[in-house]
């Protein structure tokens, strides 16, 4: 195996949240990402799935140093991004790109979209002529399914899905080595979603780009990823090669997610789906003792409340954090 491009070691992200109280405002610290480690190789896509608020965006941003990690290391080809100086980081930015989850708010409303897409080139390929830049932008527009005539319009003149494609164009234009895609296709209609998926896969085949693909759509995730990582409440529950995870999930949460996958089937009502996994997500400010999933876990035992399950290896490439992963596997699906 080739040495990993990216190696994330025990990464943690904290936020201070202020709330008004009778005695003035109080700050509490929320740990959004908790002790996460994984590696990513060239040409590989790692899918990230987990419930809302479990820290997927925070993890992606912390890897690119867009939010400061509270602890842990992010090694990019051996360089620790969390400890590197600002100049090196700026230089590396052309290799590390992100497509943000919120397409509209990520685009400068006062800039024509053609300029927005060209901007990274101004910074990272300053020797390009204006004409070359225009050609590159027009080419990128076409590749993501936008019309080149649209370059002079402003972001608020586009629908959400179109804004998403503009952000993908901006992220891809410098030819990055790592792309963090935060829900890149969830605002797109399925025919364009299929085009974008095919596009990302083609770019990956052509350039060997590594992709962190965050999505709550498991069908898309399975299609796009070589390996899949399942998060819950900021922690890693399971990580495994795609087929192994989908055919043989060991963690009860992974199993619940796979069971709840909706199908485009008019005979399946919303209530059938809601039966899949009841219960509420606990607060990240006061996570449950022991296993954080235990309040929704169908097979929790008293031990789960007492001790946190350590990450165990099912095989060399398959890790799971559950006391009862062997029994969980034995349960009928």
């Amino acid at each position: 195996m080739t040495a990993p491009l990216l190696s994330v070691r025990s990464l943690c992200v904290d936020y201070e949240q202020r709330r008004a109280g009778v005695f003035g405002s109080r700050a509490s610290t929320l740990r959004a990402v908790h002790d996460i480690s994984f590696e990513l190789s060239e040409g590989e896509t790692l899918g990230i799935v987990g419930e809302t608020g479990c820290g997927k965006t925070s993890l992606g941003k912390a890897i690119l140093q867009l939010v400061p990690p509270a602890a842990g290391r992010v090694l990019w080809r051996g360089t620790d991004l969390a400890r590197t100086d600002a100049r090196t980081l700026t230089r590396l930015r052309s290799e590390l790109q992100i497509v943000f989850q919120d397409p509209l708010s990520a685009l400068n409303p006062r800039m024509p979209v053609g300029e927005i897409v060209a901007e990274p080139l101004r910074v990272h390929a300053a020797d390009m002529s204006a004409q070359e830049r225009r050609a590159a932008v027009a080419d990128m527009f076409e590749r993501v399914g936008l019309r080149p005539e649209m370059t002079s319009r402003y972001p608020n003149e586009f629908s959400s899905g179109q804004c998403q494609r503009i952000s993908i164009a901006r992220a891809m234009i410098t030819g990055p080595k790592l792309l963090v895609c935060d829900e890149p296709v969830s605002a797109l209609d399925v025919s364009i979603q299929a085009q974008i998926c095919n596009l990302l896969r083609r770019l990956q085949r052509e350039t060997g780009i590594a992709i962190l693909f965050i999505s709550h759509d498991l069908s898309v995730l399975r299609y796009m990823s070589h390996r899949v990582m399942v998060l819950y409440l900021g922690r890693l529950m399971e990580i495994a090669p795609r087929d192994e995870l989908f055919e043989n999930p060991r963690h009860p949460y992974s199993r619940a997610l796979i069971e709840a996958i909706p199908e485009a089937d008019p005979d399946r009502g919303p209530h059938d789906m809601a039966d899949a996994l009841p219960g509420e997500i606990p607060s990240a400010l006061a996570p449950p003792s022991g296993c954080v999933f235990r309040t929704r876990c169908p097979i929790a035992t008293p031990e789960c409340a007492r001790t946190r399950p350590p990450g165990e290896s099912v095989s060399a490439s398959h890790r799971v954090a559950c006391h009862h992963w062997r029994d969980a596997h034995a349960q009928p699906r």
Binding site: S105, S186, C197, Y223, D265, P270, L285
Partner: protein
């Protein structure tokens, strides 16, 4: 069945520089009392603008023409005061971009409380209780703590659920939900859909569900309207549209959908080509340049969404040779 909302020949145009962009083109649709209509379509098809126009929420550079009747009363371009009372109390909209639906400088709790006080006439204590109850209903973790947070302190999916809480607080007659489950994990998505189904059952609320997620539409909706380039191209019951799609675009959408059985080694079947430019008004069928069945007639003559009200129909020349 009485129509709660009737849209007739609605057009929405935008001034963009020296040109005019048509987002919605002579669109007509009905939403019956208690029914759930799914509006599906390509991104940029005009789904959001149709309903923003109906509620008087268009951008400054937009113009709407046609007619929108709410319980028989014309509301298109109605005075702002009239629309303000209607919105929130009778008709609620869950916006696609949760950041634009929430006020960024106000804590979540304040926004919910204000709605409860204004529309339900509650006092401060009651409103606080109601706000908390709504956050519990949409299953936000630690709702009491969240009341005190600002929108930016929540994750994307949490904001979406706050928007849904805000939309449901007054038990409206009509809830327009624009991509309400886009950022949610499948277990929570299922819970939210269950919630919407409950609201329909208990309060007989009509729901318009704007989504590109075909699985979500299949799970909740009675009828489906497929839009392309500002017009409906197919309409029918959910079962008809999913099991016997008529329009080549609808067929293409259903074929593009990856499932757990899709082979990751091969490319997805995408519809080739790009969505049309809303600046241009095609003479014939707007789907012609992407359609594998295109004929001469498709270029010169626009196919109409034939059929009588409520019947399964599609706007395509293949169906009326």
């Amino acid at each position: 069945m009485n129509a709660l909302l009737e849209i007739r020949d609605l057009s929405v145009r935008f001034d963009v520089g020296d040109a005019e962009l048509t987002a919605v083109r002579e669109l007509s649709l009905d939403v019956a009392e208690g029914e759930c209509l799914g509006v599906v379509g390509e991104s940029g098809a005009g789904k959001s603008q149709t309903f923003l126009a109906a509620l008087g929420l268009l951008a400054e550079n937009a113009r709407a023409e046609g007619s929108v009747l709410y319980r028989g009363r014309e509301i298109l371009n109605a005075p702002r005061r009239e629309l303000n009372t209607l919105r929130g109390r009778r008709i609620a909209m869950v916006f696609q971009d949760p950041l634009s639906g929430l006020t960024s400088t106000l804590r979540i709790g304040r926004q919910l409380e204000e709605s409860a006080r204004r529309h339900l006439g509650m006092n401060a204590r009651q409103a606080r209780g109601k706000a908390l109850e709504m956050l519990e209903t949409v299953r936000l973790p630690d709702p009491e703590h969240c009341l005190d947070l600002y929108p930016f302190e929540l994750s994307g999916g949490m904001r979406q659920r706050v928007m849904i809480a805000l939309g449901m607080i007054c038990r409206p007659d009509l809830l327009i939900a624009d991509e309400p489950t886009t950022a949610l994990d499948v277990t929570i998505q299922a819970q939210i859909l269950g919630l919407l189904a409950e609201l329909r059952r208990d309060a007989n609320t009509s729901v318009v569900l704007i989504t590109h997620d075909l699985a979500v539409a299949a799970g909740l909706c009675d009828r489906i309207l497929i839009m392309y380039n500002g017009r409906p191209v197919e309409s029918g019951t959910t079962r008809e549209v999913f099991t016997a799609p008529k329009h080549p675009y609808t067929k293409g959408l259903l074929a593009s959908l990856p499932s757990l059985a899709t082979d990751p080694a091969i490319d997805l079947t995408a519809i080739p080509g790009q969505p049309p430019d809303a600046l241009v008004t095609p003479r014939g069928c707007a789907f012609a340049e992407r359609c594998e069945h295109v004929m001469d007639r498709c270029i010169s003559e626009r196919p109409l969404l034939g059929g009588t009200r409520g019947r399964h129909a599609a706007a395509c020349h293949l169906l009326s040779p």
